[in-house]
Symmetry: C2
Subunit: 426 residues, 2 copies
Amino acid sequence: MAPHDAVEVITAKRDKGELSDSQIDWVIAAYTRGDVADEQMSSLAMSILLNGMVPREIARWTAAMIASGERMDFSALSRPTADKHSTGGVGDKITLPLAPLVAACGVAVPQLSGRGLGHTGGTLDKLESIPGWRATLSNEEMFAQLESVGAVICAAGDGLAPADKKLYALRDVTGTVEAIPLIASSIMSKKIAEGTGALVLDVKVGTGAFMKDVARARELAETMVGLGTNAGVNTVALLTDMNTPLGLTAGNAIEVVESIEVLQGGGPADVVELTLALAREMLTAAGVTDVDPAGKLADGSAMDVWRAMINAQGGDPEAALPVARESHVVTSPSTGTLTRLDAMAVGLAAWRLGAGRARKEDPVQAGAGVVWHARPGDRVTQGEPLFTLLTDEPERFDRALESLESGFDIGEGTFTAPDLIIDRID
Amino acid sequence: MAPHDAVEVITAKRDKGELSDSQIDWVIAAYTRGDVADEQMSSLAMSILLNGMVPREIARWTAAMIASGERMDFSALSRPTADKHSTGGVGDKITLPLAPLVAACGVAVPQLSGRGLGHTGGTLDKLESIPGWRATLSNEEMFAQLESVGAVICAAGDGLAPADKKLYALRDVTGTVEAIPLIASSIMSKKIAEGTGALVLDVKVGTGAFMKDVARARELAETMVGLGTNAGVNTVALLTDMNTPLGLTAGNAIEVVESIEVLQGGGPADVVELTLALAREMLTAAGVTDVDPAGKLADGSAMDVWRAMINAQGGDPEAALPVARESHVVTSPSTGTLTRLDAMAVGLAAWRLGAGRARKEDPVQAGAGVVWHARPGDRVTQGEPLFTLLTDEPERFDRALESLESGFDIGEGTFTAPDLIIDRID
């Protein structure tokens, strides 16, 4: 006989109780094998969202999700490992320059990434705009590439935290995404199962982020840092601004281009700043304190790792990237200082142009996206280009323009952008 | 395009908002036709359970469930109609004498009943112990019997509030049964769709009832009376005690026997008291104020309607009822006054003896159940029979005895039982 039943576990949390370790282990295992039905897990998820979980419950829930699948182990590698996870933002291409940069500094980066859903892009979607590049590697290929190149960005295998995969898809359709215990355990179960030695979390805050206010973002960051630390992963989090999109591009191929600019020692200042800050955190968390990553951007060694990394996964780092068939330029309606550029408005526009997907099974356009020609604080001139919209399907321009319409302000005088890095939690 | 989507409705209630009429209409209709999935409705149900609903939402939810199916109409009958609904108790056979009694007083009773699940019995299960009796009638048969006999007790057709049928089954497995808005709308959607002109609710309170405390029972009663009144059904509720089981029997055939005793002018005092109180409420609610139901028990006219009612549905009112193959007598461990007889303990014992079912598809034993030989306030003598347990399967005695063990107290001195009728709400 089963030690628990679904209604018992659901009603315990519904009535504001703490779930026992045994209840958590049972419900995750039973859900994974289908003995707890989707409609039971969704009412439990809603109870967790509304009634919360104490740290012990979240840690056990995470451990149970890890235990639902395989766990990778990179301890046999010749160098330490560090990974980064971003909670998702607009124009957030940081993983692309960051992984080869950290590898160039002597720390291996086993980066399991996802595809985009909704207004935030996915790292794999961006890389798939490179001709020939493939996201799927076997565990053996991943290990070999970490040893030879030092950096891998690939799709998570099906064997990793299958309970999380099932629960993540369920939460998406049942209004139970926005629960800190469930967000934290979802992210951390995958990252801990992935076997990284150190982990840096980039928790985004602002209009374009999942967390709209700093207090909730801090709570999520603290929860995740606690989970990582307890599981023996050296974990630190940065809270970073996502009211403004990162860099000057949001899309797929256009973000790869911007990432390569950074790897070549150029690129927008904010992308460089965040890439270096996260690289320093990853190096420190992995125990490497004597290498300055800025030098590895300047001397081309990060770019060398990028080329090797793309090559190793079948991509041609020198190939021309896809370009959208149609473009539309939006000019500035007045002259002054750009005082606001809303990340959500830009993200929605890029999504509506075809850079993102509405449903998991939808394709994305490699060339679609938004380029903005000024960042908050920059001067703009009436009649000069403010945005360039890119898509293969010109019928998409109208709805993209709609979302940009109220997405920026132009004012007089000077304007100082808020700090990109808001806080650090360890 | 649909006017709403499931996640929008779920998150509105999750975030403590009020659902609009349009959202409620859409979600009930979409759930009925399968466009809203079970896992979406269950997280919405949990949100409703935890965040509540205002009266307007509950009324609209009820109306939408009624609109999901057919609505019966008895206005063409030659007499007024009244129905009774009990929220469920142990030994609650009141419907059996009540329906023919009220019909004998000139008010037609279209009583749609259910089968039992768990420790409370089902009216249809009790009547099905009568050889030949059938629970399923067409709408035309029901109408004809109401005209000719004046009383019908039968199963609700599949066409009545199908949204409620689907939601009721879902709530049972997702820990979302105990939500007053959902309980009230479930009961009232069926009763309003059934087309009765007046309705009396018997809301049970106590250990053997769904509602353990008077405050929650009163809230449920007030909610249901409001729903009925707004829908044009003259509705009143009695709060009645269910700490002690009703009468002296809990089972199927043995409750029919007790009901016939009441119809013959005898029977336990509490069963007679509650039957008469509910009959008077039904008559008053239906506009009949000049008939005393007590006289209709005394003069045999209620018994005449009973015979006609059983006959009309294929049953033989004179046939011998099934008797359990095995019996076991529990004697009183001491001499004194019975000061407590717990309804839940007795209900569980009857259920474990085979009178009830654990799953919807299980059969019940017609002869199984518990007879108690004393009620709280009665004197008991050491070594004399206190309970008789009845079942076809003697291996069931042990677990039934277990549940009775701590289900009664014997003390010294006098003992006054609390009032059977706690409150009246209209």
